[in-house]
Subunit: 319 residues, 2 copies
């Protein structure tokens, strides 16, 4: 394993820090879904994590890794999704401010969520430039620390704790699979599998066909930006970063792409059979396992259900 | 308590029989929902029961209460919903046949579910007369025992085990609330509350406004048939029976009616905040608690989430 990657000691420190605050999420199984998939599946339910997604783990570890004086000035980011919500929850928990930069066009439901968690919102024009310049301004004015949603080793080490708990509960997994967006959860999952899984454990990623930049990046050995992604899995739109890309290249065996139709069908299976609400991004892992039947046949496979935050009435089940 | 009602010994026997086969379903809490409701809520998740509903409990107790030679000839009923599914699962588990009479007009999804659980279906015209005469024929030809979905003391005692487990987990509940359809779950819940709850525990029922026959029946002391019920809570359409009605009259403090709009809003809260899929009938209990704020203010309240079987993409969230 490359020496720049988070090492076992970093993962241990993250584990110790995160477990103090995060829910130990349950691992669910479903014999009905096992029959459909032809393998033994263990679902790590990060949809039941605080804030409804694994993001709470990374945010906690990143915050607790700051020096006290830096931490007191607050946390900042430019996400409108689960990372922003998680950062707000962590900030509230630690009694420090959270500054969130959001495009003026962000859906009301996401604005309300961040406000509900006590975040201080600064709106910007919906462009990459405006987002970055606004964030820089906020950081300058407040002294808060920018916590990148995924391209940050403390975040990655924090996300690794989900797979680590899963491996504690089911130590003999033959394979694990996580969704790939910016690659924070994927990198963390791979690091835990390699460090704490059984010898030879396979590591897979699941990515929407309509946002398959990680698949292509890994194949060609170069980071492709995610341009005009189009998928129902709205948590997986971003490009890999220069910290997540090398980890994924070295430690992930294969990225499997899935269509929105396959994601929606898998999501429905999880909701109907396991009665648990996962967001489309979280359902990609089951879609990938079902699609790649032979690859997983008879294997004990762990799936990271990354989150459960969806605008439920707006889900298009006809995809 | 009236001497014809199931007695403590009957409830104990049901408890012993049911626990061998049923899932011990979890009790979930949500601080977000507590804040909204202004009280401390404990959700007994029967949506995670085998077959996706509490009905498995009653069906198990009814089947195991039959003499062996009767049981071997099989179980029969005329439901197309959760009771039919539960009866099929129990029959399969005990190695005996299940005969289900369904109207020709039953939705394909329900027919598929019963078939999937190994039930033998006989279709009939969609009238009450055809249903009963067809069922009588099936029973005559096969020797199977008709298990009524609710108007049966063994069923009622079986359903009582959900609230009993809840009271084991949270012994000092001030109140419990269950949905009211035919009254099997409501009667069982009331019996457990009175026999195993703390002194003075209050017992509430939740019923859709569009199917408020139990509310009116209790008020006027006479069983009104459920005529042309109209509600999204499709598990609560039936009338009370002559076994459930007296129990509800004597042991239930109050039935609270809720609109489809209130049911849908409560269902959405449960799905979004607790990430657990309940069917509309199951959400009536939270709708009733939220609607009747003062009644529950500051009270530790147990809610029976009766089931989680819904045709998810078809749910109308705009009600």
């Amino acid at each position: 394993m490359h020496s720049s990657f988070p090492q076992k000691a970093d993962l241990d420190r993250a584990y110790t820090q995160v477990r103090k605050y995060a829910h130990r999420t349950p691992v669910l199984t479903s014999s009905a879904i096992n029959n459909i998939a032809g393998c033994e599946l263990y679902f790590k339910c990060e949809n039941l994590q605080r804030g409804g997604a694994f993001k709470f783990r990374g945010a906690t570890n990143a915050a607790l890794s700051l020096p006290q004086d830096k931490l007191q000035k607050g946390l900042a980011t430019h996400s409108s999704g689960n990372h922003a919500a998680a950062l707000c929850i962590v900030a509230g928990m630690l009694g420090v401010p959270a500054y969130i930069v959001m495009p003026e066009t962000a859906p009301a439901i996401k604005v309300a969520a961040v406000k509900g968690y006590g975040g201080k919102i600064t709106f910007c024009k919906p462009t990459l430039e405006a987002r970055e310049s606004t964030l820089n301004q906020v950081v300058e004015q407040t002294g808060a620390t920018f916590i990148h949603p995924y391209n940050n080793y403390d975040i990655i080490a924090g996300q690794s704790t989900a797979c680590r708990e899963l491996l504690e509960d089911v130590p003999d997994l033959d394979a694990v699979i996580a969704p790939v967006g910016g690659g924070g959860l994927m990198s963390g999952t791979a690091l835990s599998a390699v460090n704490f899984g059984k010898k030879g454990i396979k590591v897979f990623g699941a990515e929407p066909e309509g946002a398959d930049d990680a698949f292509r990046s890994k194949r060609d050995g170069v980071i492709y930006p995610s341009v005009g992604p189009k998928t129902i899995a709205d948590g997986l739109l971003t490009s890999l970063g220069d910290k997540t890309f090398p980890i994924i290249c070295e430690l992930v065996d294969q990225i499997i792409t899935v269509s929105d139709h396959e994601i929606t069908a898998a999501m429905r299976l999880i909701w109907e059979r396991m009665k648990t609400v996962v967001e489309p991004s979280g359902a990609t892992v089951l879609a990938a396992v079902i699609k790649s039947g032979d690859l997983f046949k008879g294997k004990k496979t762990g799936l990271i259900l990354s989150g459960g935050n969806a605008d439920i009435p707006k889900i298009n089940w006809e995809l």
